[in-house]
C-alpha cells in the first residue's frame, strides 16, 4: 500500500514497507520478530549524588558523580482502591560520572560540540545536554558511555520545589560486557547543584544473551527510600493479539495524514539487575494486563529526514491516554501524558535484518488524571524496542515505561513485593 503522506509523520523508519510480504515464506513471522526484538536487557537504576566526591574545579554545568543503586519497581494489580507500586531501593551496583550542561533552546547538541554557557534557572523549563554520562558497574570492568539531551520541568514534589529533569540517552560505547551493545536509556529525577538524583530506565540490545541470566540474582540488599516524596510505577506496553493491535493513520480535515493512532496494552513488568561480580540483568518478565493505552504520535519536525541515527535521532512526540482497570475490567483511573520529546534510533535485528526495527526513548509531563489519578503531578517516560510497518502492516513493540508521581502521602506506594507473580 502506498503511504498517504509524508512518512516522517508516522514514526515509520526508512525501511518502511507494509510488512514482510515480498517473500513471505522466507520472512520471519511476527512472533519470531517479537522474540528477536525482546532479546534485550532491561533494568532500573537509581542515581544518588555522591557527596564524597571532591570538587575538581569545573564550575560550569553539572560535573558530578552519583552512586547507582539497584531499584526494583513492582506495579500491583489495580483494584477498586486504586493503583500502587512498591519501590525497593537496593544495594549500590555502580556509579555514574556525568558532565551535563544547561543549553539554549535552539542549541543543536552533538557529542563533539561543547555548549555555550547557560545557567540553570529552576523557575523555568530548560533544555540540557548529557555531554557525557558514563555508567560503571561493579569493579569498573563493565559499563558504557553515552550522550543525550533532555529538559527540566519546575515542579512541586510534595512541598519541595524541584527542577525535575528527564532525558533520553544513547549508548555511544560499551566496555566489558557492554562492548558492542546498542542501547538507550531514559532518566527522570531531579537536577540538583550536586548532580542528578533519580531513576534511570535502561534498555540494551542483547541478541547473544551476554548481559542477561535466567538464574536468580542475589537477593536485594534493601536500603531506605532515597526519595520518599515520590512513587515510581513501571509497566510494559505491548500490542494486543486482537483487533486492538492495529495502528491507524490520523487524517486531518484536509485529507492529509497528520500522524498515527497507536493502541497498546499495558502489562505488569519486572526488571532487575545485580552485580555479583560482573553485571547481570534478569530476563525481563511481562505479566497480566492492567491498562489500555491509546495514543497519537507524529514526527516533531515537519518534513524531517525519517532516518534515526545515533547522531541524528528521529524526533517524535505524541499524546497518550492510559486507562487502568481492575481485574473485572472496571476503570479505576486515567492518565493523559504528552510525550514532548522522543528520540528514535533505527536499528537492525539479528535474524530479521530487513525488519524496520527501532529503539527509542521518550518522556513527558502528566497533563491530567482522573479517578485514582485525579490531580496527580509527574512524568511518564520509557525506553522501547519496536518494529514498525505502516498500517495496515503490523507493529510490534515492547515498551519499558515508568511514571514518576509526586506522592508525599504515599497514596500510590504499595507494600514491598518480590515480583509480579
Amino acid at each position: 500500500m502506498k503511504q498517504k503522506s509524508d512518512p516522517t509523520l508516522n514514526f515509520v523508519p526508512t525501511a518502511g514497507a507494509t510488512g514482510p510480504s515480498q517473500n513471505a515464506s522466507a520472512a520471519p513471522s511476527a512472533e519470531t520478530i517479537q522474540y528477536l526484538m525482546d532479546q534485550a536487557a532491561g533494568f532500573s537504576l537509581y542515581a544518588n549524588p555522591d557527596l564524597s566526591r571532591k570538587d575538581d574545579g569545573e564550575k560550569r554545568g553539572f560535573v558530578a558523580s552519583a552512586t547507582l543503586s539497584r531499584f526494583n519497581i513492582i506495579l500491583e494489580a489495580p483494584t477498586s482502591e486504586g493503583v500502587r507500586a512498591s519501590n525497593a531501593y537496593g544495594e549500590m551496583v555502580g556509579k555514574l560520572e556525568i558532565r551535563w550542561f544547561i543549553i539554549p533552546n535552539d542549541f543543536v547538541a552533538k557529542p563533539d560540540r561543547e555548549p555555550p554557557p547557560c545557567e540553570l534557572d529552576p523557575t523555568i523549563s530548560q533544555r540540557f545536554v548529557m555531554q557525557e554520562a558514563t555508567f560503571i558497574f561493579g569493579d569498573g570492568h563493565d559499563g558504557f558511555r553515552s550522550f543525550g539531551t533532555g529538559r527540566t520541568f519546575p515542579m512541586m514534589v510534595g512541598n519541595e520545589a524541584r527542577a525535575v529533569a528527564s532525558a533520553v540517552g544513547n549508548v555511544t560505547e560499551g566496555f566489558g560486557k557492554f562492548k558492542g551493545h546498542e542501547g538507550n536509556f531514559t532518566i527522570c529525577g531531579d537536577l540538583q547543584a550536586n548532580g542528578f538524583k533519580g531513576h534511570i530506565l535502561v534498555r540494551i540490545a542483547d541478541p547473544e544473551s551476554e548481559l542477561r541470566t535466567q538464574a536468580d540474582l542475589p537477593p536485594m540488599q534493601r536500603q531506605a527510600a532515597l526519595d520518599p516524596q515520590s512513587t515510581y510505577l513501571l509497566w510494559a506496553g505491548q500490542k494486543d493479539k486482537g483487533l486492538e493491535r492495529a495502528n491507524r493513520f490520523s487524517v486531518g480535515a484536509d485529507g492529509q495524514v497528520r500522524g498515527m493512532n497507536v493502541p497498546i496494552r499495558i502489562k505488569r513488568l519486572q526488571l532487575d539487575c545485580a552485580v555479583p561480580g560482573h553485571f547481570e540483568s534478569k530476563d525481563f518478565a511481562v505479566g497480566q494486563a492492567v491498562a489500555r493505552e491509546i495514543g497519537f504520535g507524529k514526527g516533531s519536525v515537519d518534513g524531517a529526514n525519517p532516518v534515526g541515527t545515533a547522531l541524528n535521532p528521529f524526533l517524535f512526540e505524541g499524546v497518550a491516554h492510559y486507562t487502568f482497570h481492575d481485574a473485572s475490567g472496571k476503570a479505576v483511573g486515567t492518565i493523559t501524558t504528552n510525550f514532548l520529546e522522543g528520540r528514535r534510533f533505527d536499528t537492525k535485528l539479528p535474524g530479521a535484518q530487513d525488519a524496520p526495527a527501532v529503539r527509542f526513548g521518550f518522556f513527558g509531563p502528566i497533563i491530567a488524571g482522573s479517578g485514582c489519578f485525579q490531580g496527580i503531578e509527574g512524568m511518564i517516560y520509557g525506553s522501547t524496542g519496536a518494529v514498525f510497518y505502516p498500517p495496515p502492516g503490523f507493529h510490534l513493540i515492547t515498551h519499558f515505561c515508568a511514571a514518576r508521581i509526586s506522592d508525599p502521602e504515599g497514596k500510590f506506594r504499595g507494600a514491598l513485593q518480590a515480583g509480579i507473580d
Partner: protein, 425 residues
C-alpha cells in the same frame, strides 16, 4: 493642557505618505466619546464545570482519532459563567490598593475548544492550525477554534479567536496562565447581529479547565442591553479565585485637550502612538433575568495615569472579522493616592492584539476601531514590586479625534491575597 496639533511626518520607510493627524476632530470629541461608550460590558468569571469530562474529545466528530485526546494538541473546556465585579480603590493605607472582588450569580456557561498552533499561525476563522502539542512549560499560541457563550436558551454568541499561554512560577509552583482575544462571529437573542469582542485571562486548571475572568464587550447603540435602571446588586456565591486579583479599569482621556503623539518608529513599517489616559475604578455589572441580559457601567474614582505606546502598521488595511489588523503595546500603570502619592506601578504590554474597523451610523465618515489584546505583566514597583500576571484590553477608539473607551483588566497573581477583599466573605 493646551491642545496641540500633530504635524504630519514622513513614514519611517521614507514613504511620501504623511502620518495622519489623529487629534483632528472630524466630529466633536465629546460626541465621539459618547458613541464609543455605547457598549454593553459583561464582566464574567469562568469556573470549570465539574460535569464536563476531562476525557472530552477535541474531535467529537471522530472520537476514535486520538489526535483528539483532550490535553494533547488542544483543550476542550467548559465553564460556568458567573457575574463578576471587581472594584479597586487606592487608599494609601498599608496595602495601598484594595480590590473588592465578588463572584455573583450563575448566569450561563461557556464552551470552548482551543488548538495549539505555531507562533506564526495567522488569524484564519475556519482553518485548523497544523498540530502543535500542548507543552504547559512553554508559552504557546493557540487558536480558539470554537467558543460558545450561552445565557439561558435564547441568548448565545459564538466567537473565533486566538490566545496564548504564559507559564509562570509562583513560589516554586508551576502555574499556567492563559489569555485570549475573540471576535463574535454569530449570535442569537440579544446577540443577534451584534459586533463585539471578548477577552479572557485566567489559569488552566489541573483538570484541563479554564478558571478566570472573561469580558465581553458588545456594541449597543440602541441601548437595548445597557440598562438605565439600577441593576440588582450582586449576590455573592463563593470566592472567585483565591490567589488571583483582577483589577478592572476604565480608561479614557481626561478631555479633548489630551493629545496623542507619534513616538519613535519601531521599524518594520510600524508606527508608535503615545497615548496618555487616566485610570478609574469601575463597576461592570450585568444580570440575566427574564427580559434578557442587561448591563451597566458605573465609573468611579481617579486612580492615576496610564501611558500606552501602541505599535501597529498604519498602512495595513482596516481590520475585518476575517482579517483583523494586529498591534502590540507597552503600557505603564501608575497608581496614586487621592493625595497624589504614587503607591506603585505596573508595566505590561499587549503581545497578541487585534483590531477591527468600526463604522458609526450616527456619525458617518468617523473612523474608529474596536480592539482587544492580551499580554503578560512584566513587573512593577512599590506595592507591585515583583508583580506577575496578565493584562487584557477590550476597547474602542476613535480616529480623529483619538477618543478612548478602554476596558482593561490587570490580572495579578496574588498568592497571599494581598490585594483582594472578598465582598461579603
Amino acid at each position: 493642557m493646551k491642545k496641540q496639533a500633530v504635524s504630519p511626518q514622513p513614514l519611517p520607510d521614507s514613504s511620501t505618505v504623511p502620518l495622519p493627524d489623529l487629534n483632528h476632530e472630524i466630529y466633536p470629541y465629546d460626541l465621539v466619546q459618547n458613541i464609543l461608550d455605547q457598549t454593553a460590558n459583561f464582566s464574567m468569571f469562568a469556573v470549570p464545570d465539574s460535569s464536563h469530562s476531562v476525557d472530552a474529545s477535541l474531535t467529537p466528530e471522530n472520537p476514535d482519532d486520538w489526535y483528539g485526546l483532550n490535553g494533547g494538541y488542544g483543550l476542550d473546556w467548559q465553564s460556568d459563567l458567573f457575574r463578576f465585579e471587581s472594584v479597586v480603590s487606592v487608599d494609601g493605607g498599608e496595602n495601598g490598593v484594595v480590590v473588592d472582588q465578588a463572584l455573583g450569580e450563575l448566569t450561563g456557561n461557556i464552551h470552548s475548544r482551543w488548538f495549539f498552533s505555531a507562533a506564526d499561525h495567522k488569524w484564519s476563522p475556519g482553518k485548523s492550525p497544523s498540530p502543535r502539542i500542548f507543552d504547559p512549560w512553554r508559552s504557546q499560541q493557540f487558536v480558539m477554534q470554537e467558543c460558545a457563550i450561552t445565557f439561558g436558551d435564547e441568548h448565545t454568541c459564538q466567537c473565533y479567536g486566538m490566545g496564548r499561554t504564559f507559564p509562570i512560577n509562583v513560589g516554586g509552583r508551576h502555574v499556567l496562565l492563559a489569555g485570549a482575544v475573540a471576535n463574535i462571529t454569530n449570535g442569537t437573542g440579544i446577540f443577534a447581529g451584534r459586533e463585539g469582542t471578548l477577552v479572557c485571562t485566567g489559569t488552566i486548571t489541573a483538570d484541563l479547565g479554564f478558571r478566570g475572568n472573561i469580558n465581553l464587550r458588545v456594541r449597543d447603540a440602541e441601548r437595548t442591553i445597557v440598562s438605565e435602571d439600577k441593576l440588582s446588586p450582586i449576590k455573592k456565591s463563593s470566592e472567585p479565585d483565591p490567589g488571583h486579583t483582577f483589577i478592572a479599569l476604565r480608561l479614557a482621556k481626561k478631555d479633548s485637550s489630551v493629545q496623542t503623539t507619534y513616538g519613535p518608529p519601531p521599524g518594520n513599517d510600524q508606527v508608535s502612538l503615545i497615548t496618555p489616559s487616566e485610570m478609574r475604578s469601575v463597576r461592570y455589572s450585568y444580570t440575566t433575568g427574564k427580559s434578557g441580559p442587561h448591563t451597566q457601567m458605573e465609573i468611579g474614582k481617579f486612580l492615576g495615569p496610564m501611558e500606552a505606546t501602541v505599535f501597529f502598521n498604519l498602512l495595513a488595511p482596516p481590520g475585518t472579522a476575517e482579517a483583523p489588523a494586529s498591534f502590540t503595546t507597552q503600557e505603564l500603570y501608575t497608581f496614586k493616592t487621592p493625595k497624589g502619592e504614587v503607591v506603585g506601578t505596573i508595566s505590561c504590554g499587549v503581545v497578541l492584539g487585534y483590531s477591527f474597523a468600526l463604522k458609526f451610523p450616527s456619525a458617518p465618515g468617523q473612523p474608529g476601531m474596536r480592539f482587544a489584546g492580551i499580554g503578560p505583566i512584566q513587573g512593577g514597583t512599590g506595592i507591585f514590586a515583583g508583580a506577575q500576571g496578565m493584562l487584557t484590553v477590550d476597547s474602542l477608539i476613535g480616529i480623529s479625534p483619538h477618543a478612548l473607551s478602554l476596558m482593561h483588566v490587570l490580572h495579578l497573581v496574588d498568592p497571599a491575597g494581598r490585594f483582594t477583599r472578598v465582598v461579603g466573605g
